[in-house]
Symmetry: C2
Subunit: 189 residues, 2 copies
């Protein structure tokens, strides 16, 4: 089908195809066979390039988080960064079908050294004056909220249910503001 220059698959084309299938079929329809078909290949071929489906989903989740981090540069203080990040993460989840559910169930793909991971994740908030522990905890809190909210937003029947009894769309910002406003820097005071 093609082959002169390089293999049929590689990790990037694989993840790209997986996102394409996700967009068309949703997470429940994201099967190894459909991803393979999208690449003009048989399902077992995928296993040459990736250990299993969990690894593929983990790589997709990493991309979704990475988009959110990339979308919030130039914040003036840590509260502003958390507000920007919360909004960006919500948008990144919403940009892919079932993005939040994917990230909630995916295994993390990360550097083997915890210190490395911690430093990289904490960096943007540490640069704005937060101590490293708070940087990580505050992010975990914001991510948890955005993830939970986004799961409801993407769950069709649940979203309909909520939208009929409250202004669900506006509630996201209400909650995010409350969280960021309620968090307090252990340094200051």
């Amino acid at each position: 089908m093609r082959r002169p220059n390089g293999p049929e698959l590689d990790r990037d084309r694989l993840i790209g195809a997986a996102f394409a299938v996700l967009a068309q079929e949703g997470l429940d329809g994201l099967t190894m066979r459909k991803v393979a078909a999208h690449l003009g290949v048989q399902a077992p071929a995928i296993y040459w390039h990736v250990e299993d489906k969990a690894m593929l989903l983990g790589s997709m989740a990493r991309d979704i988080y990475a988009d959110a981090y990339a979308a919030c540069p130039g914040a003036q203080d840590w509260r502003q960064w958390l507000l920007q990040f919360g909004a960006a993460l919500r948008a990144s989840f919403a940009r892919r079908r079932d993005g939040a559910r994917l990230c909630a169930t995916a295994k993390p793909v990360a550097h083997p050294d915890p210190k490395e991971n911690a430093a990289r994740i904490a960096a943007p908030l540490v640069a704005l004056g937060l101590d490293p522990q708070a940087a990580l905890s505050f992010q975990a809190v914001v991510i948890s909220y955005v993830l939970g909210w986004s799961m409801f937003e993407a769950n069709g029947p649940m979203h309909d249910f909520l939208d009929r009894i409250m202004p669900f769309g506006e509630t996201f910002q209400t909650g995010l503001d409350a969280i960021v406003g309620g968090l307090s820097n252990p340094y200051a005071h």
Copy 2:
């Protein structure tokens, strides 16, 4: 196998069996065939008592939420109620294997009348002086946070990852306190 008094199945026995399978196998192992086997019956028999698997999961989710509501009586003000409810919901999720994931993906089973649902859900907070809109929105915010946090807690590899870079267990309360402290009653501007 038995039959003198009543049918082999009924909705309650069915949901009970589903929770038993969930405990043993997790959400991915919760299959119609295994639930049926647990009841000494063939898989298609289940479809006489329940429309499909989604309905069964919805009923299970309702039970999980109900436990949390039942666990926080006697609060003195709406902030205290939200704190109690957040902790109770986290415990209710943790009591079942994959409880949070189940509730995140389940379709709501509810009264057909939205007003009914809204009134029932808002009731405990309205009784403590919150206006109905805030009662619903604040609950949605707390539930979103607890759900997201509980999903990470129940995702083994993710939990390990987080626990290595922060005091993940303590973070729950930090976040819950921030949210409840940051929310403000529109009545008492």
